[in-house]
């Protein structure tokens, strides 16, 4: 109980600081609801109207550069792709699986097929978060085994220590998630497996 109230103190304190320092994020009443725990991530996402800005207005391209006006606005490319909550705000996995995009697997041969490997790895998570399911199939549709093995992960179940802190620091899953693949704010995409009775028991003991 004490910890919970402490947490709320922290939440209120940090919320206040966020309000003071980053008023830009809270431009509408919808955005100004009280912050609760990790939802903060979503609170700070760009409002819908500010997502996928054209290059001339995205804060990094020079609008006075002639070439800038020739670049494709992301919205135009994304208009038929299913939406997502974060990152590029499109679901790359669905887009690929439904054939809405056809990225090459080889630089010059458009017909080369991906070598897809179908093996799910379940990682039990201590605490209340659902377990993590790592899907090889949806990764090997994009990536080569050597992009992960052995530099990021030893290819043997249980041989790798992975924690959320490492991921936030850009290691392990965080090498890609949070940079190019969907970001860490999409908790449920990774923490996708409800705990069975056994997992819940361990959980109670931990608390």
């Amino acid at each position: 109980m004490k910890l919970i109230s402490l947490k709320w103190k922290a939440v209120v304190g940090v919320t206040a600081m966020v309000f003071v320092t980053t008023p830009l994020f809270f431009s509408s009443a919808e955005d100004a609801k009280p912050v609760g725990g990790v939802n903060t991530f979503n609170r700070l996402m760009a409002p819908k109207s500010e997502r996928n800005q054209p290059p001339s207005n995205d804060g990094i391209h020079d609008p006075t550069n002639e070439g800038t006006s020739l670049l494709l606005p992301p919205k135009e490319a994304f208009k038929d792709m299913p939406p997502a909550q974060a990152g590029n705000f499109v679901d790359w996995v669905q887009s690929l699986q439904k054939g809405l995009i056809k990225p090459r697997y080889d630089r010059s041969n458009p017909n080369e097929e991906a070598v897809v490997f179908d093996l799910d790895i379940v990682r039990e998570v201590k605490g209340t978060m659902p377990d993590v399911v790592y899907p090889h199939d949806r990764h090997t549709q994009w990536l080569d085994c050597s992009n992960c093995h052995p530099d990021i992960f030893i290819p043997e179940k249980g041989k790798n220590q992975i924690s959320m802190a490492q991921i936030l620091m850009g290691q392990k899953c965080g090498v890609c998630h949070g940079k190019v693949a969907f970001p860490v704010s999409d908790c449920r995409k990774c923490h996708s497996k409800k705990k069975d009775g056994k997992g819940a028991a361990t959980d109670t003991k931990k608390k």
Binding site: A10, D62, D106, S108, L143, G170
Partner: protein
Amino acid sequence: MTPLRLLYVALLMVLVMVAVPVWAEYADVVLNRNAEANGMRPVIYPHWFHRIRFRCKVCHSELGFEMRVGSNNINMGEILDGKYCGMCHNGDVAWSTEFCDRCHSGLPGLATGIRGASKSSGPGDY
């Protein structure tokens, strides 16, 4: 809520504090190690645009780009020799290097690094 969890929540919120209020498209990469010092605008490499056309594997395995911003010695000489961006921007797979301002399109003063949604203080962005 365990103390660890509490610490974790606090950590997340601190990271949120350093978020940058600019909505560059997620995963755009600014490359400006030498460009501006040599009188050209910084280069902006858009991941989203390329991943519609190529899987990660093409660049990060077949073509040998390391998955870490700044760890590839990308420079104009090598590109003109057909390496790095020049493995495709050669007038064959994609338009050639003569269109300087499509790549050199960044605002002056940008630092090399990956852009996107919110920024954490660590080497990773969430």
